[in-house]
Symmetry: C2
Amino acid sequence: MRTTIRDVAKAAGVSIATVSKVFNGYSDINQQTKQEILKIAKELDYSPNMAARTLSSKKQQTIALILNELNFNRKSTMPLEVLNGVYRYTDQSDFEFVFYGTSTEKQKQKTFSQFCNEHNITGVVIQGLKTTDPYYQEVQQTSLPTVLIDMEIDNPKIGLVSIDNEKAAQEAVDFLIANNHRQIGMINGSRDANVSELREKGYRASLAAHGLLVNESYIQYANYEEEIAYLICKNLLENNQEITALFCASDIMAIGAIRGIKDMGLRVPEDISVIGFDDIILASYVTPELTTVAQDMERIGYEAAELLTDIITNQAETSHRKISPHQLKVRQSVEKISEVR
Amino acid sequence: MRTTIRDVAKAAGVSIATVSKVFNGYSDINQQTKQEILKIAKELDYSPNMAARTLSSKKQQTIALILNELNFNRKSTMPLEVLNGVYRYTDQSDFEFVFYGTSTEKQKQKTFSQFCNEHNITGVVIQGLKTTDPYYQEVQQTSLPTVLIDMEIDNPKIGLVSIDNEKAAQEAVDFLIANNHRQIGMINGSRDANVSELREKGYRASLAAHGLLVNESYIQYANYEEEIAYLICKNLLENNQEITALFCASDIMAIGAIRGIKDMGLRVPEDISVIGFDDIILASYVTPELTTVAQDMERIGYEAAELLTDIITNQAETSHRKISPHQLKVRQSVEKISEVR
DNA sequence: CTGAAAGCGCTTACAG
DNA sequence: CTGAAAGCGCTTACAG
């Protein structure tokens, strides 16, 4: 059987209360007693049971990272980077870290608060949520410390970490326009994703700022999937041969689009310029190297965990909103065209 | 305050024992009572607290994935894939899934059994362990159901999942020899990694099988790091100009080596052929596309979790060893040389 | 079919 | 400085 606090107490000839105090760093313990208990605990290979500790104490704090639709695509390591960031923060904190995957299906079975209650979660970082997910509504009225990544929400008590997606998208399209492109298509992700909305807003804002009209048929949705982007890109370019540049809401879609362009016998960037979003590792390895908007998901994860602990410990400044920096990486997939058509 | 079983019992006018039975699927419950309890539980947003359940029942089983030295390199998604595989299996099982990162440092602070005891772990899958890690010794004599990934160990009760690294390496080198290469260098990982040993064995076996002598200075260690491989590759080729091909124990190192070769003014594969190991996503995107040994880490993770549950439920066949298939992916980084020098 | 009670391994006022 | 006891939220023989 597993070693319990009782075994240690018995072996040390003290009460379990004393053993407990030693393991909780209480100061009012005789140094000698303490050393003796520690020694015996070591011999017995004892370590306090977290479940019991969680149950009896209201102190054991655990931070959860919930990843929605864990579509661990080998090409996109973004969820992994977020996990890494959150892990790195909690690892050096006093919080216990747990990770859970969820899905629209699971969210239907169990509410957000049920889930968190069940797992004794003190605070949670969520990534990948869609506006159509049950949790999206439930999070609005939760009292649990929560930080969303890449998601706008009304509740001011909810934390929020992301880059300024609208501005970043606008800068990307600005860059295209600075390179004399005027007929610019957009391959967007999903209408249910908050970031898609924002990136589209940025696209529209850039055009507007330059006095260009938005052609609604230029905006297509590929659900962040490479294959769909491939198909949609071909379709878009066939129907709108005047297009000279494409702004894609993710690198994965940009990669699919580039393949589509090549399959049509066109060249990137000579015939069509392409700009992506995310700066995944592949972006610098594809040919041509992809010009894209970089965001540091590892950092965002770290900052989310940090913000969350601030909220938990009530140290958060008035704003629960943290904007992480982004950066346009100019590589090879955009070409300046000489005459403005 | 959180909703507890007591709240539900009170609201339903029954005892907590009855509520508990409903949530544990006991059959000897009046259908009407059951429905009523379920309805009230839903209204109250109740869900059983796992910590309490774990503590009072010896039944709640949880499977842990422990990743060592969580060096989430953006270029190598292998730990992620393992996580994904384990997660995918446990998700459709009755086991609870938890994930933990560890490190040599952490292992020194707390023993393997302390850690597992502390977290009420029923069984564990471990990846990334080095032979010099404290856990490596401790695992040898654990009674806890355990499955190691990519690691040989004596204890027959310990599960084991990996590809046949030795054979895979041998096939890779065989392929080089079939392409008339005779002076073949090896850039290996780390002496502390079990797979490195095995891949080197395969390298030696291939040479021996073809009557070739092993030149010990041809074998170098780059610790699975791209930068080190870059440096070591240049060094190796400068000191041994007769080398025509390189077998690298990982794609990351192969990518570093290729960069080193190019920096020396040599071409891949015209001057030097390179073969990698793992088939990470980048392998098919670098130029030239990398010939490599593919292994499916997602599948390995899945199989590890499967094997673990078999061990836990005592259904494991006599052997706790599972060999996953590998496959040589022939792409562009190896060239057949005409005359055997 | 239902409930009272012991117990899981801990923590924490409280008393001494 | 130390310990007895209540309690955290559950499960599970056992009795009825």
